[in-house]
């Protein structure tokens, strides 16, 4: 029996709760702050998306008569959603869950953990402040030069510079977080917690951290070069000065394609925790799942140029083949998930419902992505609304559904209270319907030729109905967030008390109180498999 007997902290004069939270180095509090901070940016990014959808509902310019403002809207929508919502939200869930799941008292470097969190609101405020400096960045979240360079028609003003500085800060936060996760996972596991007994969530955070550590410095280099080009007369990306506009795209996507896996792998981890618990079976093919995760991480570094098939500067067959190949480990995961459900005993609590939402929608996001691996088909689809549909089926249908599954799953652990099941199901239905109504018609728009990032389109182009449907769907998604906020509000006050382990779960975070005490555990159960709590509940007979 492994025990962690930690001396209680010396008594100090009681301090206000605000001071407590602002100065905390407790990974659980930091994790929760990550979640709240990310959720705020999710709301802001969502409002920007609604502005975009409102403008596109009908042909003509109705709300944003200046296209530069429209360009700011979608640029900042994507930037906030990617860098200030999905990535840090999943990092936050990892921050909360990983030390608990491996039986550790905290992250390896608690103060660095606090630093990597506090950089985020700072970066976010800088990013938002660009709206008040004469216009935010408007060159798309990809910010390709020369459009993102200085120039009256390009990106004049401080908005683009603030965007660069803010992203460098957020990237620094990611790098610090990744180092912290890696050291925690490799050095802080409880006795008995071998690598192949780690929860899949921990594996996905491990692979994600490796991706972040290898890729983020690379995009930082691109951002620094762009900053030099903009402000000090550099010509890294300026062909008239001997630079190359395509160079930026190579560097940018060398980070930003792995970043897609940074945004989906931990959500896959969340799903892989939830499906076994709510079907009362182990995850089907644990080791295959681990290898598939590692394979996705490795292949993720050799497919970046599939974002550049139409540039005329890519070795097309290589990137086409590897992009197709990445479907294989992804398919392995999909089958393992489905066969975890197969012959189980499913309890349809909200976490499982969102997890099934993830499975059904991420499947579409995987399939419609394979179209673009076929280079000639990508010639038709690239930079159209098809691609917008694809990334949202992956990042919303996948990551966001996974995030909400995780929030419903761990909320009882974080707060000691259960979220309301009825409100949770209302949220799911609204979100699922709204999501499909918004993003499925974008396939049709894209295949019929509507490019991305345009504020207006001809009434006779045949795109009116699908655009109206997408706009209505967007507002349904927005409506689905209200029951969630209300749910959190009422459940914190009067929700059902959770107890240590409300879901009959498998992993160590449920072996301590809800919420857990500082340093997490007084005592740990025996760890003989990837499901120590299942073993404690059912004994070895369960195997």
């Amino acid at each position: 029996m492994a025990t962690h007997a930690l001396a209680p902290a010396p008594a100090t004069a009681s301090r206000g709760w605000l001071y407590e939270w602002l100065t905390t180095t407790d990974h659980k509090k930091i994790g929760i702050m990550y979640v709240i901070n990310s959720f705020i940016f999710f709301l802001i990014g969502g409002v920007l998306a609604l502005v975009v959808r409102a403008e596109l509902a009908r042909p003509g310019l109705q709300f944003l008569t200046d296209e530069r403002v429209y360009n700011q809207m979608f640029t900042m929508h994507a930037t906030l959603m990617i860098f200030l919502f999905v990535i840090p939200m999943l990092a936050g869930l990892g921050n909360y869950a990983v030390p608990l799941m491996i039986g550790a008292p905290d992250m390896a470097f608690p103060r660095i953990n606090a630093l990597s969190f506090w950089i985020l609101p700072l970066g976010g405020i800088l990013m938002i402040s660009s709206f008040f400096t004469g216009g935010a960045a408007a060159a798309g979240w990809t910010s390709y030069p020369p459009l993102s360079a200085e120039g009256p028609l390009n990106s004049p003003g401080a908005g683009q510079d603030l965007w660069i500085v803010s992203l460098i800060l957020i990237g620094t936060s990611s790098i610090l977080g990744a180092i912290n996760f890696l050291v925690t996972i490799f050095k802080m596991r409880a006795p008995g917690m071998t690598l192949f007994r780690m929860p899949i969530m921990v594996w996905t955070i491990l692979v994600t951290s490796v991706l972040v550590l290898m890729a983020t410095p690379v995009i930082t280099s691109a951002l620094v070069m762009l900053f030099i080009d903009r402000n000090y007369g550099g010509t890294f990306f300026d062909p008239s000065g001997g630079g190359s506009a395509i160079l930026y795209q190579n560097i940018f996507w060398f980070y930003s394609h792995p970043a897609v896996y940074v945004m989906i792998l931990p959500a896959m981890g969340v799903i892989s925790e939830i499906l076994p618990v709510f079907s009362r079976k182990p995850l089907f093919g644990y080791k295959a799942f681990v290898f598939a995760t590692a394979a996705i991480g490795a292949l993720g570094f050799s497919v970046w140029a599939h974002h550049m098939f139409t540039t005329g500067s890519v070795f097309l067959p290589f990137f086409s083949l590897l992009t197709f190949m990445i479907a294989v480990p992804t398919g392995v995961k999909m089958f393992n998930w489905v066969f975890t459900l197969f012959r189980g005993q499913l309890t349809f609590s909200t976490p499982l419902i969102f997890a099934i939402g993830f499975l059904t929608m991420f499947l579409i996001g995987g399939i419609n992505g394979a179209f673009s691996a076929s280079v000639p088909v990508d010639f038709a689809l690239h930079d159209t609304y098809w691609i917008v549909a694809h990334i949202h089926y992956v990042l919303f249908g996948g990551s966001v559904f996974g995030i909400f599954a995780g929030l419903y799953y761990w909320f009882p652990k974080m707060t000691g209270r259960m979220l309301d099941e009825g409100l949770g199901k209302i949220q799911f239905v609204l979100m699922f319907v709204g999501f499909n109504l918004t993003f499925f018609p974008m396939h049709m728009l894209g295949i019929q030729g509507m490019p991305r990032r345009i504020a207006d389109y001809a009434a006779e182009a045949g795109w009116n109905d699908w655009n109206m449907a997408a706009t209505i769907g967007g507002f349904v998604i927005a409506a689905s967030i209200l029951p969630f906020i209300w749910n959190v509000f009422v459940s914190l006050r009067g929700g059902k008390v959770a107890g240590d382990d409300p879901w009959e779960a498998n992993t160590l975070e449920w072996a301590t109180s809800s919420p857990p005490p500082p340093y997490n555990f007084d005592q740990l159960p025996e760890i003989r498999s990837e499901r120590p709590l299942f073993d404690a509940r059912h004994g070895r007979a369960g195997h």
Binding site: S279, G331, L363, V377, R452
Partner: protein, 370 residues
């Protein structure tokens, strides 16, 4: 291993099976009813586009098959294996199956390798450019206007089409191409990245400053007389959404007539300056050299306009009233050229003169008429 198979009431499987069958029937109905047609690209107008369409159809069929199988499995498992009251014993604790893992690794690998090979074959065909195409066009994409230079067999420019969109009133404008002949387009940009995209070609190619991209197409003979909508597909700034163009498919004879007319127009000397009020305006680095002009009321006037920006950057000087209505709409001129614009007399008042291609403050000024 406690692996006794669980007894299930038969209706569970029946309901689950029925729901899956209904879903498959729905997918089929969507396609048979014609609604599924909106998931296919528009009819291809070029021989290259038809090859891409053929490839798309295969990829799409494979995608639908995978979708139906996996989504069906998910739906079936969800409906079939719900936990019932009285399900107190654990279900069989299956940890995995190596044979299954090998199968669902190998089968998808074979499928994607097949898709890769047919994609590569199609790519080699649609991406090919010949040394001696029948028609050579140089498309220049500048913020925020296309122009099309027609080149002879040696690559020498013979005519320039500065009006990228077909105008129904004048019957002019647009990039005309002959059907049934190979057309090679060379893409150049003087400023940022753009993309040449014609949905009915099922094709796009980026226009990258500092490099010349080339692609080739042959419009099907049955398309003679058709117009194809095209537009910039790579975000290029505030005017990105209005960077439209038209491709006109003409019979070879009509095309030759059209090209001769364009050559004649390109070689015409600019109209001489009329007598009366003549103003001088110069455009340079996407800015007018003056922000204020003044002319007498109700008197025709002229502007001697010089565009000193590099070739590929077009400008014009339109006049708009306070409500933004266009009162005078001039044809843009290319960088490095000049022209004389003539305008009707205007009643006294304050107007805006503006470059329609770059409606930014630096290319907007006040025209005072008194």
């Amino acid at each position: 291993m406690s692996s006794t198979p669980r007894k299930r009431p038969a209706p569970d499987a029946l309901v689950a099976g029925a729901v899956v069958a209904i879903l498959i029937a729905l997918v089929l109905a969507v396609f048979l009813s014609g609604w599924g047609a909106s998931l296919y690209p528009p009819e291809a107008a070029t021989s290259q586009g038809r090859e891409i369409r053929g490839l798309y159809d295969i990829v799409f069929a494979v995608a639908i098959a995978i979708f139906v199988v996996v989504e069906g499995l998910i739906v079936w498992s969800v409906l079939r294996y719900r936990r019932r009251p009285g399900d107190n014993e654990l279900p069989a604790q299956t940890h995995g199956n190596n044979v299954a893992e090998v199968i669902w690794t190998l089968v998808p690998t074979v499928i994607v390798l097949f898709l890769f090979v047919i994609s590569w074959q199609t790519l080699n065909s649609v991406d090919a450019v010949s040394a001696q195409p029948d028609v050579r066009i140089r498309a220049i994409a500048g913020q925020f206007q296309w122009q099309f230079e027609y080149l002879d067999g040696n690559g020498t420019k013979v005519a320039t089409q500065l009006a990228p969109e077909y105008n129904q009133d004048t019957g002019e404008g647009g990039m005309a191409v002959p059907v049934g002949r190979s057309v090679q387009v060379a893409l150049d940009s003087p400023d940022v990245i753009h993309a040449f995209y014609v949905p009915r070609f099922l094709f796009k190619r980026d226009v990258v400053p500092g490099q010349t991209n080339r692609f080739e197409f042959t419009v099907d003979p049955k398309e003679a007389g058709q117009f194809f909508r095209g537009q910039c597909a790579e975000l290029c700034g505030a005017g990105h959404g209005s960077m439209l163009f038209t491709v006109r498919a003409l019979s070879p004879a009509d095309y030759d007539t059209w090209l001769q007319a364009l050559i004649a127009k390109s070689n015409a000397t600019p109209a001489p300056l009329p007598s009366g009020t003549v103003l001088n305006v110069t455009a340079r680095e996407i800015a007018f050299d003056t922000k204020a002009l003044e002319v007498p009321a109700d008197t025709p006037f002229a502007i001697a306009f010089q565009n000193q920006d590099p070739s590929g950057v077009t400008h014009d000087i339109d006049i708009r009233d306070a409500n933004g209505n266009v009162l005078a709409n001039q044809e843009p001129i290319n960088g490095g050229t000049s022209t004389n614009y003539t305008y009707e007399g205007l009643p006294a008042g304050t107007y805006t003169f503006i470059c329609a291609i770059h409606p930014i403050p630096a290319m907007t000024g006040t025209l005072t008429v008194k």
